[in-house]
Symmetry: none
Subunit: 262 residues, 2 copies
Amino acid sequence: MNTEARRIEIFEGLRQPDRSGLPKYQRLTNVLVDGISRGLWRPGDRLPAEEELTELTPYSLGTVQRALRHLAEQGLVVRQHGLGSFVAEMRRRLQDPWHCRFIGDDGVSVLPIYTKAIHRIEVTGKGSWTKYLGAGSRVMRVDRMINVNEEFDIFSRFYADRTLLARLWNTPMERLHGANFKELITKQCQLPITQITHLVRVERFDSEVCGMLEVPKNTNGMFMRAIANAGHNLTVYYQEFFIPPNNRSLQFLEQTPSSPGL
Amino acid sequence: MNTEARRIEIFEGLRQPDRSGLPKYQRLTNVLVDGISRGLWRPGDRLPAEEELTELTPYSLGTVQRALRHLAEQGLVVRQHGLGSFVAEMRRRLQDPWHCRFIGDDGVSVLPIYTKAIHRIEVTGKGSWTKYLGAGSRVMRVDRMINVNEEFDIFSRFYADRTLLARLWNTPMERLHGANFKELITKQCQLPITQITHLVRVERFDSEVCGMLEVPKNTNGMFMRAIANAGHNLTVYYQEFFIPPNNRSLQFLEQTPSSPGL
DNA sequence: AGCGATTTGTACGTATGTATG
DNA sequence: CCATACATACGTACAAATCGC
């Protein structure tokens, strides 16, 4: 079946009576996110016009507009007056490595990192990832070692939905060596990552982690978690970093969102 | 003039022809923010009902609702079905302190912080601040203790140009107690802070810091620096935080700016 | 430069649903 | 049950931006 037909088909569900109890603009929002994440519309593609959507769906213009506006506020869609609504490009204005931005002596440059994938498994049941990825989903975990500027190593656990990042699950392990996960994700996942949250604390590493990092047992180090979101609700991946003591500083950059009005 | 009369009066401007070119829902949003910031409605107060606002203003229900919804999304207003729209409590809309965002057990809420200014001096010569504030400027330093959720204390050194933040230099020390520096700076300094950089590392605290924090000598803790910029070049302030070991996580948020320019 | 077609942006007025007290 | 007040939704109208002819 061609893409155009599948695009039209995706709205059919909205004609069924509502089982979820969600408002209509939410249901439409979800359908559009679903279509984008399934690659029906790729970054840069134009979504159906508002008027068109009022025909494809049983919804009114106001409802359609609210859904689109909502997606635009979340950064998943870019709307252009007189032109149309487009799936946001994934070109990242987030800084270059998303995580592990260690700063060099000059206080400006970002130290290079080299990654090595160790192994990849499916995890089940509950765990630290459940909170972010949900309990019902099929979650994979990729363990990696990340070397920073040939100075020290970081141990990292990467969690994501196996189906959402199917290509990452299927890519041969050999090709994950040295691969930039950021690139893999942006290229192979349709969803633009619009928000990343980092959580940082000082923690005593357990023996497994200490073993991986080759540091003495009970070493205190930095424990960092990263949650990458597309829109406000969907978590694309969740990642843990175990950073041993070192004399480099991690950088976090926050820009005050230009508030329209107010 | 009593408050009620002033509350009604504040909407009068909306009847004048629009000079700003802003959409109506924005103008109403601005008027409400203005009223709140001037104390016409204090935290916890109920705003006029939607229907009431359609009478107080020349706007329709949809427009009024959009303004209120917008304010609710920003966290300035809390809307309760069947009850009314209320000005958010201070702690709630003191949205995310810029620094020291420690996350509560629920993984979402930001723990409250209480600050106490200890002393304020002018610093000369070179120091850790020079790199960011320049060598030639007259720099003040304000030392503070920051209590997080009554659980632990952070020691902080705040550096800024004495002339740029003249009011902060002149404000009596008593009034700095408990003051939110963010508010002081945004209100009293005309410069909008557009970017904040955080640098984080694990460090062994020196004896002075350990003394302030009342932790054993040579304690390893988190050392955080924050650089607040207006525009790209100008540093408004530079701040150091000494965070003792604790079991809370610090949050850093990075958002891809919603691209209007494309 | 102008004009029409397309498309988003704002706004109105109305109707109905639903939570609260 | 009722009044109040927010929440959703509809259909319509017009304004404003963009593009192609």
